[in-house]
Symmetry: C2
Subunit: 541 residues, 2 copies
């Protein structure tokens, strides 16, 4: 027997219309690519999103068509988020930091009909234009005055396109499972893979991130998402902010510490979000300039593990709480957020900081479990670690144009991470599952060993990989870069590691190299190292 | 084109399992009907909810069967919420405050298979047992020791039923639109009507009420719902608290000011929720005993309009923020919540209190509009008032076993209220649409006039109704009860009203009566008055 409740679909268009109706005067402030600060309201944003939907309709864009964007965080990019998805087309955010050949692959694989481009990224597109000949047209995200000379064919000006369109548009109603947006994730192997979000997954994820046990924000909040809108939809903040009526502050292309700090102070920012690298720059600037925050209260940090010193610096020096969060492009992206519980309220800062090293508790909507190599579920004791599996309505079921399912028969998606979970539900990433070293039935975290190696005087950078071992199956090998002028030896490193690692966790060998290979986005390319060292004979074997 | 996200249903069973996994140690504290305080954890609650699902399965309960409850707020009632709905049956909460003949109608109309009864309500059921012969059995919500003598047939003991059941149960997965729970709403006319919620509507509503622009609660919160679980599912708080991992404090049968206050202090309650009557009792007790709150921060007040003196008393005397909220059983029930916006942060208490008189801004998921008699939409200017229509995924589409749709062709449900909405989205109820007086094209709020009449010295209670008028269609008539010993006259009342009402709003006549008719739940029975006075000839006609 079904309930007798209204069958209203969860749609992205309703997010911006809700903001316009109920928080119409609240501001969206953007540092524009052209230079000046731009400010308008949710009412304006809704109006221009409707204009965009009309303009796209005139261009012949239909339900399900992909529309690419190469753009910073700013109001025009927001209009595309709501205008493109709202009309039923798919907003495909392209990460400009990828290698050009990856961008070509992505645009062709997505079959983008039009691409919207911030001025900054014009040279990037011009350089690949002969490889993306299926694109019908390129829209430069500026006004007539700032339109550049370009070698691109079929070029349109964003503001001229807008000027030609009416701001009245009846958003279509359709199945909430309709595709809304597309992000490609580039691993360390193979071609990038497209994650195709739906209206349902986006709205439910917005409920999750906006809830107090996610990040939690209301119409009281002023949010500056440093995390780019081309990176997992800026963690979904733009959608959720509209649902909450929060003031949004968009940093545009200027992400250096000084620019971010000044924008935070000028606009009264209370909450921000980004990867550790960005906060390193911000904290360095604040330290050098002896600056303090006036309004900032919390910052969400994700994308990679947060160093303890960063949590300490924010909380102890600047009275800003860090919300350590974890997710994946495949998860919309929020999986966990490290919020303290009631019982932690009285803890001293030191213990709070330790707790914040964990990636946190699942947000309602995300189920997690950890399993061993045989798929057997492991206990939540904070010690046993295993492959982390997730499921939920905002987790991917497969990649765009791939007929391969990525979930097991019970619907679980393997995150590729290895983690512990404690009895309070706090999850902590231990390693990537392909990087973990499986030694005689025990698992050794390559990240744990790397962190210790990097702490050894004289070491600049290090990677720890598994190499085959006749008796133990795999054993750890350190590949390290020395600091300039250092004479650190293998023995020095091993001696240093003995202080913190158990005997069976100690690497069997240390190799020094002049440099380590990285991906376009700066991650260690361990698969390349594994390939290179696959026949390495451990000195202790 | 559909998105490629997991097709996971939104289910109530996942709410309690989520709490057990991630907030397993958090407490649920209940004042038991037998007397002592009972405390256990979400882990225990999940375990016993599974036991209940097993016990019901053994009794032959199937997907879609209705299971009635006549019970206070307490842990066993929670186990029924999650156990009954979780297994796919329908948890039918019966309001014991209705007239016995209404309860008979409801139980027979719902075709309840079993009814679970708190000790308190046993006499009530015994008195109607011969009229509800289709019920297969009655489960007394107590342990063997407290089992009473009873004339009911087929009686079971709750704890014995539980003891016979295993705590392992694989919650079934089914369509999220499956019916989960049933509440009857009793208007002033006709038979009670059943609102049939679904798992989807319940989970989405939980997201809404838990969001910062709803009520907003997290795992930091300690919540005492005074609003009964037999009244619109305690406003959904029980479900949403599980999703948030908030500590719950259940008051059982003792709702007097002293009991509520002592429980709040003993358990560190931070947030409460209930109707104005309850808070009147609490405030009276606190005032007499010169008590202060130690931990209370916020209280949600709904069910009827909140008097300004109550908002002032909470904020000015006790430093507790009032969240004025509005909804209906037909809306799960939350529609709006009166939270302040960023721009209101600096307002003096007096202005905040004034703002809190409004019922508030729509929670995302609820769309509102106001229309005139012809269905034309009215502006959101805070002045024009019209019939309030709503739609959204947790608003009813029709009543149980009725094939009559209650929504118009665009999906709007008429709330029966008349309200204004201002440009910031704040809605304020002006009257019930059947009570508003339509005088020469202008609408007069009967409630506004009643409030003024009651302010006249010598008046104890008053109703204002429309009576037919040859020229103006309708004109207001006051029907009032004098305070004992008062000699107040018609002229006194009219003279008093001239201070605050415009000339065209002044009632045409005042009739004094010894008493006014009320419903079982204490509301004025205006339809009875209208019937009685339908041929009344206004002295001024």
């Amino acid at each position: 027997m079904l309930g007798l409740m209204q069958n209203r679909p969860l749609l992205i268009s309703e997010q911006i219309e809700f903001a316009a109706r109920n928080h119409g005067d609240e501001e969206i402030v953007s540092r524009s690519v052209e230079g000046p600060i731009h400010r308008y309201t949710y009412r304006d944003c809704a109006s221009r999103s409707r204009q965009m939907a009309n303009a796209l309709t005139k261009l012949g864009v239909k339900l399900g068509d992909r529309i690419g964007t190469l753009a910073w965080n700013g109001y025009r990019h927001m209009e595309l988020y709501f205008g493109v998805s709202g009309m039923g087309a798919v907003c495909h955010t392209i990460n400009p930091r990828l290698f050009p050949e990856q961008i070509v692959y992505i645009i062709n694989h997505a079959e983008d009909e039009y691409i919207f481009i911030d001025l900054t990224f014009l040279p990037l597109v011009e350089a690949i234009k002969d490889s993306i000949t299926n694109v019908k047209g390129f829209v430069i995200m500026t006004d007539k005055e700032h339109m550049p000379e370009t070698s691109l064919p079929n070029v349109l000006c964003y503001e001229e396109l807008m000027a030609s369109a009416d701001d009245q548009f009846a958003w279509p109603e359709f199945d909430e499972n309709t595709a809304s947006s597309l992000c490609y994730t580039s691993g360390t192997t193979g071609n990038p893979k497209g994650v195709l979000y739906s209206h349902r997954s986006t709205v439910l994820h917005s409920f999750g991130i906006r809830s107090p046990d996610g990040v939690g924000f209301s119409s009281q909040e002023v949010i500056l998402p440093v995390v780019p809108m081309f990176h997992a939809n800026a963690w979904g903040i733009v959608y959720a902010a509209a649902m909450a009526g929060s003031k949004l502050v968009m940093p545009g292309a200027q992400m250096d510490g000084k620019s971010i700090y000044e924008l935070m102070e000028a606009e009264g920012v209370t909450l921000s979000a980004g990867v550790p690298t960005v906060w390193m720059m911000l904290l360095a600037f604040m330290n050098e300039s002896n600056s303090k925050f006036t309004t900032m209260q919390r910052t969400v940090i994700g994308g990679s593990a947060v160093p303890k010193s960063m949590i300490e610096s924010f909380r102890n020096n600047y009275n800003v709480d860090v919300i350590h969060a974890w997710g994946m492009t495949e998860m919309s992206p929020l999986g966990t957020a490290c919020n303290l519980k009631r019982k932690h309220a009285g803890l001293p800062n030191e213990e709070k900081n330790d707790l914040n090293l964990k990636q946190g508790v699942a947000v309602f909507g995300v189920e997690m479990k950890i399993v061993d190599d045989t798929g057997k579920e492991l206990p939540w004791d904070g010690e046993k670690f295993g492959r982390l599996l997730v499921r939920g309505p905002w987790v991917t079921s497969g990649y765009f144009k791939s007929d391969q399912s990525v979930v097991d028969s019970d619907g679980w998606f393997d995150t590729g991470d290895v983690s512990t979970i404690d009895k309070d539900g706090y999850m902590q990433i231990v390693d990537r599952s392909k990087d973990v070293i499986k030694s005689g039935g025990e698992w050794i975290s390559s990240i744990d060993v790397e962190n210790e190696v990097v702490g050894c005087p004289g070491i600049a950078e290090a990677a720890v990989i598994a190499v085959p071992h006749p008796k133990w199956d795999e054993r750890p090998l350190v590949i390290a870069v020395k600091q300039e002028g250092s004479n650190v030896s293998k023995e020095d490193v091993i001696e240093h590691l003995k202080r913190s690692l158990a005997k069976w966790q100690l690497p069997d060998d240390v190799v020094f190299v002049p440099e380590l290979p990285h991906t376009a986005t700066g991650k260690l390319l361990k698969n390349k190292l594994r390939e290179e060292y696959k026949d390495y004979t451990l000195s202790s074997s």
